[in-house]
Symmetry: C2
Subunit: 351 residues, 2 copies
C-alpha cells in the first residue's frame, strides 16, 4: 500500500507474467481467461500505469510545452485558451513556461527540450537572437514559433502581420480627419516593436503626413509604461489628436492619463490599441483595436505542432494570420459601442 502497485504486483496476484499483464493493459490479443484474471487483479489493486516508466520506454511523453513571454499578458492568454483544447483533444498535456521576455530564460527552455520531458514546443519569443536560431536548428524535438523569424530559418512559424495591422489603424485615423498621430511603442529591439514602428513611419509617409520624432514615444509593453509615455507626450506635443498604441495594455494606460488630463476620447484624442484583447472590449471607453488574431495564431500553432508530432515531415511551414481592425468607441464615439461579444463569445455549446 505504501508504494503503489506495479505491473509486477498484478502479475503475482493474477499468477501470470508481467508481459501478459502489459499485453492485457495495452489491449493486445490475449486469452479471455488471462485477460479476466489480469483485469480483476488490476481493479482490486487500484492499479494506475506509471507514465514516467512508460515514457522512458516509448520515448513519448505526451506533453507539449508552451513558452510565452508573460503569463500576465492577455494576448498570450488568448493563445493559451486555443492551444489548450487542441492539445487536450489529441491526448497531450500542456506544460507552461513564462520567460518574462528574458532571452536567457527562453534559451533555457530551448535547451531543456533536450531533457525530453516534452514531445514538442510552441514558443513566442519577443526577441530573436543568434543563440535562439542556433538552438532552434539543433532542437531535438519539433518546435513551432509564434512570431516572426528571419527568412530561411528552418522552423514552423505562425506570424501575425502587424505591419498591415498598423496600416489599417493609421488609415482609419486619417479617414477620421486626424493629422497629428502619435505612436506609443514598445521597445524597438523586440520583433513586434521594430515592425510596428517601421509600419507607422511608412504609413505616415504614404499619407503625406510630416514625420515628427516627438510624436514617437517608447516604453515597455505594460499599462504604467503607456501612461508614462502619454503623460510625457502631452507635455511635448499638446496638439496631438490620435494615439496609435503598440498594444492594448499601453492603450489602457493612455486612456487613464487622457482622462486625468481632461482630454475627451475620441473627440480630442482618438486611441487605437493592438491585440484586441478582452480588455479592449471592456474598457472605458471601449477601445478600438487591431486584432492580430492571437486566438487564431494559437490554434494554428497547436495544429502545426500536432501534425509534426504525428509524424508529418517535410518542409517548414509558415502560416500568416491577417489582421483585422475592430472599431469601438475610442475612435468612433460611443454610438459605435454595443454588446458585440454575443457574436463570438461562447456561442457554441448550445443545448
Amino acid at each position: 500500500m505504501a508504494d503503489g502497485p506495479t505491473i509486477n504486483t498484478i502479475a503475482e496476484r493474477a499468477g501470470v507474467s508481467i508481459a501478459s499483464v502489459s499485453r492485457v493493459l495495452n489491449g493486445l490479443p490475449t486469452r479471455q481467461e488471462t485477460e479476466r484474471k489480469v483485469m480483476a487483479a488490476a481493479d482490486e489493486l487500484g492499479y494506475v500505469r506509471n507514465a514516467v516508466a512508460r515514457s522512458l520506454k516509448s520515448r513519448r511523453t505526451h506533453q507539449v510545452a508552451f513558452a510565452m513571454a508573460d503569463v500576465g499578458n492577455p494576448a498570450y492568454l488568448a493563445m493559451l485558451r486555443q492551444i489548450q483544447p487542441v492539445l487536450k483533444a489529441a491526448g497531450y498535456r500542456l506544460v507552461l513556461h513564462s520567460t518574462d521576455a528574458v532571452a536567457a530564460d527562453e534559451i533555457d527552455v530551448l535547451h531543456s527540450l533536450g531533457e525530453r520531458y516534452v514531445d514538442g514546443l510552441i514558443m513566442s519569443p519577443l526577441r530573436v537572437t543568434e543563440t535562439h536560431l542556433e538552438m532552434l536548428a539543433a532542437a531535438r524535438a519539433p518546435v513551432v514559433i509564434i512570431g516572426s523569424v528571419p527568412e530561411g530559418t528552418r522552423v514552423d512559424n505562425v506570424r501575425a502581420d502587424s505591419h498591415t495591422g498598423v496600416r489599417l489603424a493609421i488609415d482609419h485615423l486619417h479617414t477620421l480627419g486626424r493629422r497629428r498621430i502619435a505612436m506609443i511603442n514598445g521597445p524597438v529591439d523586440t520583433v513586434p516593436g521594430a515592425a510596428r514602428g517601421a509600419a507607422y513611419r511608412e504609413a505616415l509617409g504614404d499619407l503625406g503626413l510630416r514625420h515628427d520624432e516627438a510624436l514617437v514615444r517608447i516604453g515597455d509593453f505594460y499599462r504604467p509604461d503607456g501612461a508614462r509615455a502619454v503623460a510625457d507626450l502631452l507635455e511635448r506635443v499638446p496638439d496631438v489628436d490620435a494615439l496609435m498604441c503598440a498594444n492594448d495594455l499601453i492603450a489602457l494606460g493612455a486612456l487613464d492619463v487622457l482622462r486625468a488630463a481632461g482630454r475627451r476620447v475620441p473627440e480630442d484624442v482618438a486611441v487605437v490599441g493592438m491585440d484586441d484583447t478582452d480588455l479592449a472590449a471592456a474598457s472605458w471607453p471601449s477601445l478600438t483595436s487591431v486584432s492580430l488574431g492571437s486566438a487564431e495564431r494559437g490554434k494554428a500553432a497547436a495544429e502545426l505542432l500536432l501534425e509534426r508530432l504525428q509524424g508529418g515531415g517535410g518542409e517548414p511551414r509558415v502560416v500568416t494570420v491577417p489582421p483585422r481592425l475592430v472599431v469601438r468607441a475610442s475612435t468612433a464615439g460611443f454610438e459605435a459601442a454595443g454588446p458585440e461579444y454575443v457574436h463570438h463569445h461562447r456561442e457554441e455549446g448550445g443545448k
Copy 2:
C-alpha cells in the same frame, strides 16, 4: 547524432564508467582529472540529461499540475499568474489542466495523479462530489484545493470568504441608499454559487429588506448569461436599483444590457461584481467589485504545496483569504475612478 548522447556515450568517449559520469554530473566528489575528462566529453557531445529516466529512478518529476475549471476565466488566470513564479523559483514546471468544470474531467485529473507524472496538484473545483472526496483521500501525491471543502476532509485547503464578501457589497449598496437589490448568481449547485446565494439572503434579512424571489436570477458564470439574466430581470422588476453579481463576467454582461436599456450606472442601477479581475478595473464604467483574493489564494496554494513537496508533514492546513471591497464608478460614480493600477501593478522590479 540521430539519437542524442547518453551517459554511456560520454563514458565511452571519456574512458570512464557511467557511474563516474553520473557522479561528475551530479557534483559528487571526484578526482580532478576524471571530472575534467567527463566535462570535456559532455560538452563536445552537447549532452543534456534525460529528465524522464532521471524521474523514473528518483521518483520525482519536478512537475506540478494546476487544474482549473476554465482557462478563459480571469479569476483563475490571476491564480495562475501567482502560482507560476512560485513554482518556477523552486524548480518545478507547471502542467496545466482545464477541466471545463466537468466533474468527470476533474476526477480524471485526480486519477492521473496515480500516473506519477507530477509531484503534486493544485485544484480549484467548482463542485465537490463524493467521488472527489474519495479520490482526494486516496490521492498518491500531495494536493492543495483552492475553494471550500467539507469540514474534516483531510486535504490542504485555501479558501475565499465569499460569504463575508457578499456581505461587504450588500452593506455598501445599502449605505448608498439602495433598497431593491437583486442578485445575479451562478448555478446554485456549485460551491461558490451556493455560498453567495445564501450570503445574499442572509444579508438582506439582517438589513430588514423584504426578500423577493423575483430579485434572484440564476445563469452560468459567463458574460452572456449575465446579460440574459439581467434582461429578464429588468422586465420583471423594473424598479430594481442595484445588482449584486456573482462574478465580474456576469457583471459585465449586466452593464451591457443596462446600457442598451438606457439605464444609467450607477444613478439608476448600481452594479457590483466579484473577483476583482483586470476586467473590472478596465470596464466601462469601471466596476466596483469584491476581491476574493484570487492572486493571494494562488500564491498561498503554491506555497502550501511546496511545503508538502519539501517533506512537510503534519495535519492538513486551511488558509482563509479575507475579501476586500474595491469601490469604483459602477456604484460610487465617476469621480471615484482613477488610475489605481499604479499602486499594485508591477511595482517591483524597479529601475
